[in-house]
């Protein structure tokens, strides 16, 4: 059985059959591949033509499932206009496409993976709109993660399913704050101001929820 509706779209089909694209090794980047500036390298290696043949026919199904969720994510907290929300949907979909080779369904749930991409694109879009000048894009925060032992991978995949089960069991006051923080992109103090609660209360509700999670992970 699938852990969720989203997983059904991605299960055991095209994501898994793709060869795991080797992670770009910084040391081996030839300076000849820099086209537009010193030190820059294209991430194009990841989507080989073969991968494209497998992905393109599946994209519409994936799009119909996720695009409405990405749009809802963009509009939650009503901070982006409808035009910008549509732009975000396109950006996220293109990123999904560019990163497809790096997705490991054994390590993360599909919905989590799409969520992290949408979160990063939204952060970058906010910064662009506010003309926030930073040398860092949210992709720079991605870790150059090492290959992990398979038992750890198994463990993390199970953990991910448990987190989802737990989310349904949280008391509404804790769930409400997590939704504000995660979906509306509010910091703890912004969430406190909006809900008219003391900051300490918000922090302790988040802490309680996380403690339950931790207990589950360690169980």
């Amino acid at each position: 059985m699938y852990a969720s509706r989203s997983d059904r779209y991605l299960s055991a089909t095209w994501w898994r059959k793709q060869p795991r694209a080797p992670r770009p090794q910084h040391k081996t980047v030839a300076s000849g591949t820099c086209q537009r500036g010193e030190g820059l390298t294209s991430g194009a290696k990841r989507s080989s033509p073969w991968v494209k043949v497998r992905i393109v026919p599946r994209l519409p199904g994936f799009f119909r499932h996720f695009a409405p969720l990405i749009k809802a994510f963009a509009l939650s907290g009503s901070s982006l206009s409808a035009t910008h929300a549509d732009e975000l949907v396109q950006e996220v979909m293109l990123k999904v496409w560019q990163k497809a080779g790096g997705f490991n369904p054994e390590k993360a749930a599909a919905s989590t993976w799409v969520y992290t991409i949408a979160r990063n694109c939204r952060t970058d879009m906010f910064r662009r709109l506010q003309k926030f000048d930073t040398p860092l894009a949210s992709d720079d925060f991605e870790l150059e993660s090492e290959e992990e032992e398979s038992f750890i991978v198994l463990h993390t995949r199970r953990g991910s399913e448990r987190v989802r089960e737990l989310m349904g069991e949280l008391p509404p006051d804790q769930a409400q704050i997590l939704a504000k923080v995660y979906m509306e992109g509010k910091s703890h103090s912004e969430a406190a101001a909006e809900l008219d609660l003391p900051l300490g209360t918000v922090k302790s509700r988040v802490r309680l929820a996380i403690q339950k999670l931790q207990a589950l992970m360690e169980a």
């Binding site: 496409w97 926030f132 993390t156 910091s187 929820a209």
Partner: protein, 217 residues
């Protein structure tokens, strides 16, 4: 082995993408040292995934699908390659900001054993700086008006509470007084993210206070 970790609230805000960029960079740098926290962040991101999945879907027309399909062959954005000359052990993100060797940075000498180099993250509320403490050197007793995140990058230091090594993440709030001392044998380099300038408390060093401003940006 990393022993000191960010509090859960920072990891949660990090996973939700709401932490200011300077603090976020400091947490990300810690993650590159710490597998424990990486796994916690993955679980915290699952909270996001679970919420995301339950959002009320908003209608998106098929014309948008066509637009996405038409853009699939757009060139992918270029990414920075790691600086070849740089220190392998340095987290990639910091490598980007430092862009070269510690020696190439502009170091501002504060006391005989302490120099500070300010890095630009664009964060207007937080200072993002490298502290370089000579081996065995002491940072005079000080407090902060706000909060301070510290990540040890090389060498190590100790203070009233404990001893810290590369990858260790320390948070100090408000008016906690502390006197960090670098361990013997190697100079200590730390990343510090502050939202208020540090304030020396001993009479002997207080004259420095007006000279130390918050270098955010």
């Amino acid at each position: 082995m990393v022993k000191h970790h960010p509090p859960a609230e920072f990891l949660t805000e990090y996973a939700a993408g709401v932490l200011p960029v300077a603090q976020s960079a400091c947490v990300a740098a810690h993650l590159s040292y710490c597998q424990r926290c990486r796994h916690i962040v993955e679980r915290l991101e699952d909270i996001g995934g679970a919420h995301f999945e339950q959002l009320d879907p908003q209608p998106v027309g098929d014309s948008m699908l066509d637009r996405v399909l038409a853009r699939l062959d757009d060139p992918e954005p270029l990414r920075y390659a790691r600086n070849e000359a740089s220190d392998d052990r340095l987290p990639g993100l910091l490598d980007r900001l430092i862009n070269g060797d510690y020696a190439d940075l502009a170091w501002k000498r504060v006391t005989q054993s302490l120099s500070i180099s300010y890095l630009k993250t664009g964060d207007l509320e937080h200072e993002f700086a490298l502290y370089r403490i000579a081996e065995g050197g002491k940072i005079p007793e000080h407090t902060h008006g706000g909060s301070e995140m510290t990540l040890v990058l090389s060498g190590g230091f100790s203070d009233e509470v404990g001893e810290y090594h590369p990858g260790d993440f320390i948070v100090r709030e408000g008016w906690d007084k502390h006197t960090p001392v670098a361990l013997e044998g190697e100079e200590c380099i730390c990343l510090a993210v502050l939202d208020a300038p540090l304030r020396f408390t001993r009479l002997r060093h207080r004259w420095l206070n007006p000279l130390i401003k918050l270098n955010a940006g």
